[in-house]
Every structure is written in C-alpha cells, then in structure tokens.
C-alpha cells in the first residue's frame, strides 16, 4: 500500500497521491460523474479533500477504498448541485469536456465516451457503481463490498440488475453488444 500515513503527509504528498491514484480517481470521475460534470473538477476536489484529510487516514483501510469513499461523496454532491442548477436554468446545456486535443481520433474517443457515459448515467447510482467497480475495473465482489460498505450479496444483486439495463442503454446509444457465442463482431461506435 502507498505511504499515505500521517508520517507520510507532507510537501510531496500531493505528488505521491497523484502518481499513485490520479488516473484511477479521474477514471472514477468520468465513469460515475456522467456527461454533465467536468471530471477534472471532480478529481481536483477529491484530491483537495484527500489532502485535507490525509493526516487522519489511519492506514487500516486500503488507500483505494479511502479515496473511493471521498470520490463517491464528491460525485454525489456535484450531481446534486448540477441537478438543482439545471432545474431553474442556472446552467444551460452542459459544455462538453474535451480530452485536450481535437484530432479525429480524439473526437471519436470523445463521442464514444459520451455514449458510454450516457448509458451509465441511465442506471441508478448504486447499480452504476457496482457495474463500474466490478465489470469495468474487474474488482471482486467482496472487494467492492468493502469499498462501498455493503454486503457482498447486495453487490451481486445490484450487478444482476445493472448488466441488462446497461446493455439495453448501450444499444440505445448505438453500441451493439457482441454476438453471444463468438466474439467476432466488433462493437459499433455511435454515429
């Protein structure tokens, strides 16, 4: 496990946290935040909160679990605020967030990302996190249960509900699932 103990908190704690977990936190922000939120804002907020609390991190839990707990709260808060703001038009249509380059490949990637985010967004929060952590990140159900503080059976039941719903929404986005038996048909990208 990374050295995130109080003794490890200090001037280079930012760099250590970022190097060890930056990509993971940003991925959670993209997958759980949905297309309406800027993942950079979410990830930045997660690190700000983490750095504020790092001295209290006792090290008896995985750093990943600790950071996931923070990410979960930040995402929930941001989604709620965004919803409230949209309700009375404080924010118009969300501005798309781009990965930083505008080559054809980047635009293509962005379109795919948007489609997947919309499909994930159609799930409830609990189902979305089960699907992201178990299927996309290939964590075991017991590990996910520890991360979200729920019984293993609950993780399974959420996955059970999330998978067909997610497939249906991917289809609606124009992303066709593979043929059941042989994985020969490539996934179609949204037009």
């Amino acid at each position: 496990m990374d050295d995130l103990s109080p003794a490890g908190a200090g001037d280079d704690a930012v760099d250590r946290l970022y190097r060890a977990h930056g990509r993971q936190v940003l991925a959670w922000a993209i997958r759980l935040g949905g297309p309406q939120l800027d993942p950079q804002d979410i990830a930045q907020e997660v690190f700000v909160v983490a750095l504020r609390q790092i001295a209290r991190f006792r090290g008896d839990a995985q750093a990943t679990t600790w950071l996931y707990g923070i990410t979960r709260n930040v995402v929930r808060n941001a989604r709620r605020v965004a919803w409230l703001r949209r309700l009375v038009g404080w924010e118009g249509q969300p501005e798309p967030v781009h990965p930083g380059v505008a080559s054809d490949e980047a635009i293509d990637l962005l379109q795919r990302r948007r489609a997947v985010q919309r499909a994930l967004d159609g799930l409830g929060a609990a189902q979305r996190e089960a699907l992201v952590l178990c299927d996309l990140e290939e964590r075991s159900a017991p590990e996910v249960a520890a991360m979200i503080g729920a019984p293993v059976g609950t993780v399974y039941s959420r996955l059970h509900a999330a998978r067909p719903a997610f497939r249906k929404r991917l289809l609606r986005e124009g992303i066709a699932p593979l043929a059941e038996a042989d994985n020969v048909v490539p996934l179609r990208r949204p037009q």
Binding site: A9, G10, D12, A13, V14, Y18, R23, L26, A27, I30, R31, P39, Q40, D41, A43, Q44, F47, V48, L51, R52, I54, A55, N73, R76, L84, V88, G89, E91, G92, Q93, E95, P96, V97, H98, P99, G100, V101, A102, A106, L109, R112, R113, A115, V116, L136, E137, S140, A141, P142, V152, Y156, L159, R163, P164, R167, I175, P177, L178, N183, L187
Partner: protein, 378 residues
Amino acid sequence: MNPLPPDARRALEPTDNELQAQLAPLTGEERRFVALATAPGDDELRMLRARLPRSAARRSRLAPGLLLACAALLLVWWLLPAPVVVATPEAGALVVAADAARWPVGEQRALDGALALSTSIGIEPAPAATLRLLQQDANGARLELVDGAATFEVDPNGGGRDLRVQAGEVEVRVVGTRFTVRRAGDAVDVAVARGRVEVRRQGSIRTLGAGEARSWPAPDEPLPLDDGAEPVGAPPSPTAALQPVAPPSSPDPSAEQARSWAALLDRLAEAPPAAALAEVDAWLAAAATGPLTDEAQVHRLLLLAEAEPPRRALSDVERWLAVSRASPSFPRVHLLRAELLALDQRCDEAAASIAVVRAMGSAGLQERAAAVAEACGG
C-alpha cells in the same frame, strides 16, 4: 426437519466465481470497449496535475503555546508586504527592478516569482509557468501564457489597468479583477476569483463572473454567446475598456460565509431533501445578510420544491417573489413558480410567471419557460 449443519450449508453455497458467472458479466470485448472509452488520457492526467496544489498542508503537533506564537509570527508575516518584483515600462520592454533585466516585447520567459507589471497589475506564476510579453504601454499590457498557470490581479483603481492574457486561442480581457489561467497544450482553463472577465475565442465572447471557471480545450468549439454578448468586431462600448466592471452580486461574499456555505453544501449531498431543507433554514437563520443569502434562499426554494407538494412550495416561492424583485434570481424563481403551478395543473396562473421569464430571463430560461407553456397547452 433438522437444519443442515453450518459446514454443510457453506459447502452447498455457490462460490464467488460461480455467482459471478450466473450473472452474465460483460464480455471481454464489451468490457474493454467501455473501459477504454472512459479511461482518462495522458493529457487529461497532466491537466489534473496542473490543477492540484503544490504541496499538502502539514498537521501541526505543536503545543498550544507554541502554536499561538507561530500564529503571531504568521500575522506579522502576513501584514508585511509580499516580496514583489516591480517592473516599469520602457519603450519596447519592461525593466524588472529586482535584477534590472529587460523583458523585451516578444521574449518568452519563465517567471520564478511574483511580478508587478505596473502599480495595478500583478502576476503570480505557478512554478515553471512561461509567459511572453506581447505588448505593453501606459494603458496596460498584453501577455501570452505559453505554458503552465498564473494568477493575475488587476486593481481597478490603479493606472494602466487594461490587461489581456492570450492562452492558445483563448483571450482573457480584464479590467479590475483576479483570475487564473492554466494552459496545457491546447487545453485552457480560466477561473475567476473576483470581478468579471471577458473571454474571446473564435469570434465569440463570453463573460465569466466571480467563482466561475471554464475550460476550452477543443480548438474547434466556439464559445457560446452570453445573453447580450457582442460579437467580436462589433463596435465596443465607449467606456467598456476604461470602467471597472462591478463584481457580480452573487458569489463574492465574506470568506467565512463562503466557507460555511460550502460546508453546508457538502452536508446537503448526504441529506434527504427534508433534512437538507432544515439545514438550509438553520444556515439562513444564523447567517448575516450577504450575497450568499440570496443564493441560499433560492436553494431553499428548490429543496422545498423537491421535498414538499407544489402548493406548499408555492406559498414560499410567492412570498420570496413579493420581496425580491431586485434579485438576479427573480426570473429564475418565476420559472420555478411556473413549473410548480403547471405541476399543480394551474396553468392559467402560470401564464404570468411565464411572461416574466420571457421578458426578463436569459435565453436558457426562456426556452424552459416555453417548455412549461407547451406543457400547459400553448
């Protein structure tokens, strides 16, 4: 019938792998597609690093007395003027007083400390930020942020306060404010701490107020026009370049109130609407009047609309509207009233609020009002 002993029961239970298999997981290619499509790119990761603080705050374990002494020293240090290098304009260059070096127009340089371009323009560069001086005269300066991040502060009461910062295709023009620009390749972030700035890009302008931030990484994406924004090339208002822009009335409150409101928003994320409503009520009861109280009151109305039946929420909405005609949220709350009335199937009464939104609201609000009118049958 005797129940099975625990060992036998456990032996009959499916293993984790068996359970996972029964649940028809995503196929390998499905998983790869979805995971790849949502995986952050290296550029995004670099942008994130640029946005993180340089260092983490240390937790002090000092004795309280020593802490007090440190606090007193800190206060003295804080009261002392910050070490700032003052640059004075000279034909075609700035002369940086600290080392009497010239910064010629067109030269790119990495700044390693705060710099005052005049008595009214300050620059606080992040480490390794690189800037190029494009133009300077008695009225102000034009700089290009080549890479990295820098915070700019302009005193509206000083002379030579017209500052423009170019970052890629984005130009930020400011009169009297404090704002930060970050650039990583083509990606540009602009965050405004105080006052208001105009951001121009590809023929369109948008204004950002205090507390607002925007990113414009994609070169082909034009800025959405604000309500009333002028297209580039239109004759500028004769006083626009000279008058300090008044800070917006919303989020520039006292730091204490802002902190307490931010903390409340954190707590609200966890709370069901009714509990959140009670928290906002308590905050409002304790808060001194300030710019955030208006935002909090509107937030409260939204929570009320979520937590209570339309009629109950409507009475509070109408009370707020009766005394808040000057609030910038006035048309927005009228839209909320129209939506609640439509929900309550009182479309006739909603018409008046829809008319207010059409007359006073932004384009976005007007669109939503049109949707409510349509739901009401025209």
